[in-house]
Structure formats: C-alpha cells, structure tokens
C-alpha cells in the first residue's frame, strides 16, 4: 500500500468526521496518528492509500466504513493495572468504605467508561477477587463501555496477546487468573463473567446504566473541548450514587469544569468524590 503523505483535504475530512461522530478534537498536528491508525483500515478495505479511502468516503457516504474510521481514531491505549495508584486506593480505602456504606444492599457497581479492550474492568475484577472479602455474597456489576464495536467484541472475548499480559499484570495474577491458549492468554470464566460490556458513545444518548459507586473515566476527557467535557461530567454525575467516586487520568481534572465534585488526594492517587 502506498504511504503517500495525507492531503490537507484528507486530514480535514478525518478531523471533521471524528469530531462530528465522537466530539474528539483532532488537528493537523495529529497527522502522524491519523496515518498510523488509518493505514490498516485502508488496507483491510482494499484501498491503495489512506487518501484513496478518504476520497471514496467523501464521494459517497458509507456508514460502515465511516464507523471503522472513527473507531480506529478513537481507540484508547490501555493496559492491566494502568498507573497502579488508583488500584491501591481501591484496595486500601474504597473497598472497605463501600463495604460499610452498602452493607444493607450488598451491591457494588463499577463502570469503566471508554474501556477499550477491557483491561481496566478486568483488572478491577481480579482486584475484587483478591481484596474484597465476602465478594460471593455481594451483587457486583462491572460494566465496560466503549463506542467501538470492534474493541467491545475483543473485550468480551477476554483473550489477550503475550504483549498485552506482559504490561502491568503481575505474574502471580497472570498464572492465577488466566489460562494459556497457544500464543494467547484467556481470562478464566470466573473473572471474565464478572464483567459485561455495552456500546456507549459519551456524547450521544446513553443506554440505561446501574447507579455507580465507582467510575473510571481515565484519559478520555483530554480529547474533548471544555464544553463537551462539562456535558460529559454532568451526565456522569447523574449515574453516580451519593458519595460515589470518579477516577480521571493524571492529566485530567473536574476543576473549573464541574463544581459537583470534590477533589480527594489519597496516597499517590487523586479521585473526585460526588458532593
């Protein structure tokens, strides 16, 4: 396939389409990312170059192909136990707090928004099995959502490459919770079945969600303009239980965007508690 430089029109088309469908802000400075992400889409669909792919899309609207383009541009990088610190906070502080607060209902709901291929929600599932005593007698709902059908399918399969399980996952947890199958590692059913996945585009109408005790929305808001960030945070607030907490990425904050959250520093991590 040709690797000709993207034309300004092609870059503009990608930026406009991605913004319209996902509200994610791209610009010409991300042309390297556009080339890296769209080359496989062009190749898989039989185009000689990304420019040809975009020319075809501009000539006639093809929703399936357009979705593939948007999904390729919006897939998040993820890894097991990414950044470690939020998981330490879960173990040291939040699990015991929720056990007390929800003792009557014995329910715990956690949402991984923009979950990509599921490593975050499965890390939480493994963490619960290791550190949440009496788990079996609780009703636990772990929900992963993403706008990409492709990554949701992969997340539900819970099948990871050696490179993926090498990243962030302690070897002791790998041998305990996964089984090897050829070149891949599959989560054991008892962990895989703890999570469910559904399609959700943060800027569109949301499907019904359980009332959440903990929300992970990490490294997502950075892609949006302030107005969209405010709108998303407001909607997130509406699905959170009283005193529920929100984890954002290290470079993200609710400060100056939404006064409904209180910033809490806990050990080495920061989270935002619903006021």
């Amino acid at each position: 396939m040709s690797v000709a430089t993207l034309t300004p029109e092609a870059i503009n088309y990608v930026c406009t389409t991605v913004r319209a469908r996902s509200a994610i802000e791209l610009d010409v400075s991300k042309s390297y990312l556009i080339e890296a992400r769209l080359a496989p889409v062009a190749k898989d669909n039989g185009f000689d170059s990304i420019n040809d792919l975009i020319q075809a899309l501009r000539g006639q609207r093809q929703l399936k192909l357009e979705s593939q383009l948007v999904e390729a541009m919006t897939t998040n990088e993820t890894s097991f136990f990414r950044d470690q610190h939020p998981f330490e906070t879960l173990r040291k502080t939040l699990f015991s707090e929720i056990k007390t607060r929800n003792a009557a209902s014995k329910s715990l709901n956690i949402w991984s928004a923009a979950c990509s291929t599921g490593q975050e929600i499965y890390s939480i599932a493994m963490h619960l099995r290791e550190h949440f005593a009496d788990l079996a007698s609780w009703k636990v709902q772990l929900v992963g959502t993403d706008l990409s059908d492709d990554v949701l399918k992969r997340a539900a399969e819970a099948r990871f490459s050696q490179i993926e399980v090498n990243r962030g996952l302690p070897a002791s947890m790998l041998v305990k919770h996964f089984q090897r199958n050829g070149l891949h590692w599959e989560l054991k059913p008892e962990v895989r079945n703890m999570a469910r996945f559904m399609k959700l585009n943060l800027i569109e109408r949301w499907p019904p969600l359980p009332v959440m005790d903990i929300v992970f929305l990490r490294n997502v808001l950075i892609y949006f303009c302030p107005e969209t960030k405010r709108a998303i945070l407001e909607k997130v607030r509406r699905v959170m239980a009283p005193n529920a907490v929100l984890f954002l990425g290290a470079a993200e904050t609710t400060m100056g965007l939404d006064a409904g959250f209180e910033r809490v520093q806990s050990d080495n991590s920061v989270y935002y508690r619903l006021k």
């Binding site: 490179i163 090498n166 990243r167 962030g168 041998v175 996964f178 089984q179 090897r180």
Partner: protein, 130 residues
C-alpha cells in the same frame, strides 16, 4: 546502585543494559547463574537482579533457589526475564522466590513497569523509554 544482569546472550545483556542505565542504575553483567553468584560474592547486593532461565553451567531457576537459600538475600529483588511462557514454569519460578516475571519479547516500558511494581528503587524513574 546497580542491576545485576544475568543472561548467556551478549545481545540480550546489551538490550537490558540500555533499558536499565537511563533509569540511573549501573550495570554488572554475568553470563550464567554461577557467574552471577560469583559477582554477588564480590559486591554489595544489587538493587535488582534480572536473570534469564535457560543458561549453561547454572540455569536461572537454580540461581534463584541458591540466592533465596542465603539469608543475606532474603529481600533481594529478583525478576526473571525469559522466553519461558508455560504457566507451570512461571509458577515454579514464583515458588522459587522470583518477585516478578517478564516474558520475552518485551518492550522497555514493560520492564520498567515491572521493576516499579516490585518496588525497585530507581534514581531516575522516568526514563527516556517511557
């Protein structure tokens, strides 16, 4: 502060050194488990030992068992870096006293993450590899 890198492949020792040195650790190399034990006798305990499994003279598993049997190294951080990917073998290594296990091929950030995970003190923890 230094890392002891034990691998019979000179190329692999060089790759590991290039990952570890920007983190602020010096590097001492050994070609097999016995060579690694000899280096340990000569020097203060390292900050971390990165050890391969399959090597001539003394393999990595026997090296780990020998080190763990010596009370001087009860808290020594040891990571096995190997092509072994069988879960049963990984369990053997963990039972022998390995703190963490990285499967080859790996990337620099995998190794750095795992060193942080087991509490290796790194003078320059944000390396150019991250």
């Amino acid at each position: 502060m230094y890392a002891l890198i034990i691998d019979d492949s000179r190329a692999m020792r060089r790759i590991l050194s290039k990952i570890v040195m920007p983190l602020g650790l010096e590097v001492v190399e050994a070609e097999n488990g016995q060579d690694g034990l000899d280096r340990l006798e000569e020097m203060e305990p390292p900050e971390v030992i990165l050890v391969d499994w399959n090597m001539p003279v003394m393999n990595g598993l026997d090296f780990v068992k020998t080190v763990r049997a010596d009370g001087r190294y009860a808290n020594q951080k040891i990571m096995m870096v190997t092509t072994e990917t069988e879960p049963a073998q990984m369990v053997r290594a963990l039972m022998a006293g390995v703190d963490e296990f990285a499967m080859k091929p790996f990337t620099a950030d995998v190794l750095v993450e795992k060193m942080k995970l087991i509490g290796v003190r790194l003078p320059n923890p944000v390396s150019s590899n991250e």
